[in-house]
Subunit: 203 residues, 2 copies
């Protein structure tokens, strides 16, 4: 599994000439798991009032670590489907079905990354506004990374897969979820940035 690699090896894998791991897994890791873990650290350092954030953030980070692996698995599934034989009508039909199933998973996983990263963003906001002021820059980074993850690997990967989906109802629903999440992301991202920049300028 990807997240069993050393950080150094993960960086090399991303930079290789293979298309996966790519933007999806990087977004889940950076925008999600690291952002949630930063919120967790700030909660640890913010006293009893924020103790409940610690286990919440840990669960979110765990889910995003899992999704880091799943995104690359979904991509590989699509690639494998395209490589299936297509000599007979039966084979062609099975290949088409496999491509659709893979593309659907490759859309569903980044949507989940968006949903869970949005939860990380909510925690980042809570920690930026109410956590230990000495760690406000860490909460601020959590916010920036979570927003980048949602907009990036997640949203871009959903959008890039939509045209290939034959199930137009699923595609429309995915686009709807994406737009809703991005609206929340924009709002939270702006609130956190304004607060952190103001606090750092006043310090």
């Amino acid at each position: 599994m990807l997240t069993d690699l050393k950080v150094e090896e993960f960086i090399k894998e991303v930079g290789s000439n293979q298309p996966a791991p790519g933007g999806g897994s990087c977004s889940a890791l950076a925008g999600g798991a690291l952002a949630a873990s930063l919120a967790q650290m700030v909660a640890h350092l913010s006293g009893e009032a924020h103790a409940d954030v610690v286990p919440n953030a840990r669960v979110i980070a765990d889910r995003l670590r899992h999704l880091t692996n799943r995104d690359t698995e979904a991509f590989n599934l699509v690639v494998a489907a395209y490589r299936l034989p297509r000599r007979t009508e039966q084979e062609k039909k099975e290949r088409r079905a496999a491509i659709q199933a893979g593309t659907r998973m490759a859309t569903e996983v980044p949507l989940q990354v968006m949903e869970v990263s949005l939860q990380a963003l909510v925690l980042a906001k809570e920690m930026a506004l109410h956590g230990n002021p000495n760690t406000i820059s860490d909460a601020g980074v959590a916010g920036l990374l979570a927003a980048a993850g949602c907009r990036g690997g997640a949203a871009y990967n959903v959008l890039i897969n939509l045209p290939g989906l034959k199930d137009r109802e699923f595609a429309a629903e995915a686009k709807h979820r994406l737009d809703e999440i991005l609206a929340s992301v924009d709002r939270l991202d702006t609130e956190i940035k304004e607060h952190v920049n103001r606090a750092l300028k006043d310090s």
Copy 2:
């Protein structure tokens, strides 16, 4: 070293109750090393015309991997300096000097993260605009992560350290470099986002 940890362990370290590794190392890793590696991957998949991007991106990713470790080292240096004894005048003087040296390093490292992440952002733009259109979402993620890294761990960590610097000339120069880099980041980030969103909507 931090980047010798497994990805999974790195995530746990960030989420621990210790203030380092924090936003600085996460920004160098996510906003820098992963962004540069994504640009490197896109270059690999974009044909001969972009072959020179591969070694450039690798060097940038290597430097940011190094800075991921250095940021936490700088933080630990400051913490160690604050813990020095201060019983005699001589000890107090040495402690103050050690705090200043540590704070200076804790300002210089994130400034370097910003400078090198800006280079990653430039490569991300080149790959988003001129690379393989099939990997445009990966180039887009590289852009978002590099911009988040510059604005985040990097800029926030510089700003949080400035008030503690007795050398006001160094502090003013650091603030000037920071403002210049952030202006470039804003411009590049907007260009990449607009291009990628337009391309994905038209696909």
